[in-house]
């Protein structure tokens, strides 16, 4: 055989090996990729997590810095690898929580969220990026976590937790982290954890404050022991109304991850029958001793009345989301649409536009010709504001007949507070101020931004 033939054969063999290696690499990548891409829209049975008997060399290198911590050590790390955690809500709390659980080497993470990523999430929901807008949060979170630690099994659920699916889902996990954003879901998660005997690590955050408690753990109280009656819906503020500084749920989600890791690794949590409160303004943590488990608790007591999951939206009188409620306090003829208001502006009809949002929102954006009196000041009949209102109404009346009732259009962000303000103004009209015709602008400034002026900011 000629030297040339031998050389070609050798080259061919080399290429074949190269192709085989590339195929193997592609298969590995596709395997990882597909396992992330699979988004669950319902609850399906999972294969049990297999317990590792020993750490691999790669495990030892990856987790070496925490293996050196005597409270965790090798056994703790092995315990983490066989623990599954369900994260209810992949938002401001769920993102940092899942991040640290994945980094620490938890075995399996169920990532549940019914929502999609929006631009206004990114300041606090730090697993999602700009390119994930519109994507299911559960999927976006799973992809980010896989990049961090491909050995952690992530199961993204794009669904709303409900009385129909909660038990089947929660029974498949060892620990549940409540990172949700509404009252009905908090009661639902609690009851499902009590009925399935799972510890519940629960945190919440708003504005500059956070709270954390571990429920249903080693005979400790459950959420219902503390809060047997849900709060009146009008007293509950959500993040889209009250605002939240992103780092506050970040801190609370990290503390939540810490307590999950302590339970998963085989230590005890420090937060059972305790309320950990965080005040970001004063940089102050405070831990409060809570009541023990209540013998007369409706779900974990001695004679429970709740023995299966119920309708939590009815129980709480509010929806299981943090989206704003739409009030309907006025009749149709007390309201105008943004289109109708636009034509009033176009015709230059004399009127007063009253913006009743709080100052902090007016600072974000406003219609330049509006008069701002926050609803709370109007309700209080603050002297300076009533006088201001009187003057503006007087100006409108000047040079007109005595029975002219100047039109006042009331606006706010979404059209809820403005309806309340119309009711207040109607009481004032003809007594505290001259008689006026008051109407609400349906849907508020956000409707204005969506349908009339696309350059107006939305928040």
């Amino acid at each position: 055989m000629s030297r040339e033939v031998l050389l070609l054969k050798a080259q061919l063999k080399e290429r074949d090996e190269e192709i085989a290696a590339l195929k193997h690499k592609l298969a590995q990548l596709e395997k990882n990729h597909n396992s992330v891409q699979e988004l669950y829209d319902r609850v399906t049975p999972l294969t049990p997590l297999t317990a590792k008997t020993a750490l691999s060399n790669e495990d030892i290198m990856r987790y070496s810095r925490q293996l050196l911590v005597p409270q965790l050590a090798v056994q703790g790390q092995l315990n983490l690898s066989k623990t599954s955690v369900l994260v209810v809500g992949c938002g401001g709390l769920g993102c940092p929580l899942a991040l640290y659980l994945a980094a620490a080497g938890i075995g399996r993470l169920g990532l549940l969220d019914y929502d999609e990523v929006e631009l206004n999430n990114l300041h606090r929901q730090v697993l999602h990026g700009e390119e994930n807008q519109g994507q299911a949060k559960a999927l976006s979170a799973a992809q980010a976590l896989k990049r961090l630690n491909s050995t952690v099994e992530c199961i993204p659920y794009h669904l709303q937790l409900s009385p129909q699916n909660a038990l089947q889902l929660i029974q498949q996990y060892d620990i549940v982290a409540d990172c949700s954003d509404n009252v009905p879901t908090r009661y639902l998660v609690n009851d499902a954890c009590v009925l399935s005997g799972k510890p519940l690590v629960s945190a919440s955050a708003l504005r500059l404050e956070g709270q954390l408690t571990v429920y249903n753990y080693h005979g400790g109280p459950c959420y219902r022991c503390l809060y047997p009656v849900p709060p009146p819906p009008e007293t509950v503020t959500n993040c889209s109304d009250g605002g939240v500084l992103g780092v506050v749920p970040g801190i609370m989600g990290c503390v939540q991850a810490l307590e999950v890791l302590k339970i998963a690794s085989g230590q005890r949590t420090s937060c059972s029958q305790k309320l950990l409160m965080f005040d970001a303004q004063d940089a102050k943590f405070r831990s409060i001793k809570l009541r023990p488990k209540k013998a007369d608790c409706a779900v974990c007591g001695e004679e429970p009345s709740v023995t299966q999951l119920v309708d939590y939206e009815t129980f709480c009188g509010s929806a299981a989301s943090d989206k704003c409620r739409r009030l309907n306090l006025l009749s149709r003829d007390q309201r105008i649409t943004v289109q109708e208001y636009k034509s009033i502006l176009d015709k230059a009809e004399p009127h007063l536009l009253l913006d009743v949002r709080p100052l902090v929102e007016v600072d974000i954006c406003r219609l330049p010709f509006s008069l701002n009196i926050p609803l709370s000041c109007l309700e209080e009949r603050k002297l300076e504001d009533v006088q201001l209102l009187k003057r503006r109404i007087d100006q409108l009346r000047q040079g007109r007949s005595g029975d002219f009732q100047p039109p006042v259009y009331v606006i706010c962000k979404l059209g809820n507070d403005s309806q309340k303000a119309v009711q207040v103004m109607e009481k004032m009209s003809g007594s505290e101020v001259d008689a006026v015709t008051v109407k609400d602008i349906c849907g508020g400034l956000m409707a204005w931004a969506k349908t009339i002026d696309s350059t107006f900011p939305q928040y």
């Binding site: 809500g89 938002g91 401001g92 709390l93 769920g94 409540d178 990172c179 949700s180 954003d181 509404n182 009252v183 908090r186 945190a203 919440s204 955050a205 708003l206 504005r207 404050e209 956070g210 709270q211 503390l226 809060y227 047997p228 009656v229 849900p230 709060p231 009146p232 009008e234 007293t235 509950v236 503020t237 959500n238 993040c239 009250g242 939240v244 749920p249 309320l275 409160m277 005040d279 405070r286 409060i288 001793k289 809570l290 009541r291 943090d322 309700e379 209080e380």
Partner: protein, 101 residues
């Protein structure tokens, strides 16, 4: 006749918004024949600190659902709730439960 007592009141979790956003209040409860208890303190707060919308703070004789009361860093349930007799320099905290995430 019991002497006046000084009590430190704190509001948090948004409950401070019912008190002009002021979180901490150092108050003196006037002397009266019987010792002050929590039930009387709630009435006193309503009459002296809470200016409006009492339904967002109290319901019946107690606090509304969703507000946790802490006396000297412990759940008031451990201390006798409405019947707890206030001592001079007690610290009473009213925390509105947060639900956001």
């Amino acid at each position: 006749m019991a002497a006046p007592i000084a009590v430190h009141l704190e509001f948090g979790g948004g409950a401070e918004l019912l008190f002009n956003g002021v979180k901490e209040h150092q108050v003196t409860l006037p002397g009266q024949s019987e010792p002050w208890d929590m039930k009387q303190l709630l009435v006193w707060i309503q009459q002296n600190l809470l200016k409006e919308r009492p339904e967002l703070f109290v319901q019946g004789q107690s606090v509304r659902p969703g507000i946790l009361v802490l006396i000297n860093d412990a759940d008031w349930e451990l201390m006798g709730e409405l019947g707890y007799q206030l001592q001079d320099r007690d610290n009473v905290v009213f925390i509105s439960t947060l639900h956001g995430g």
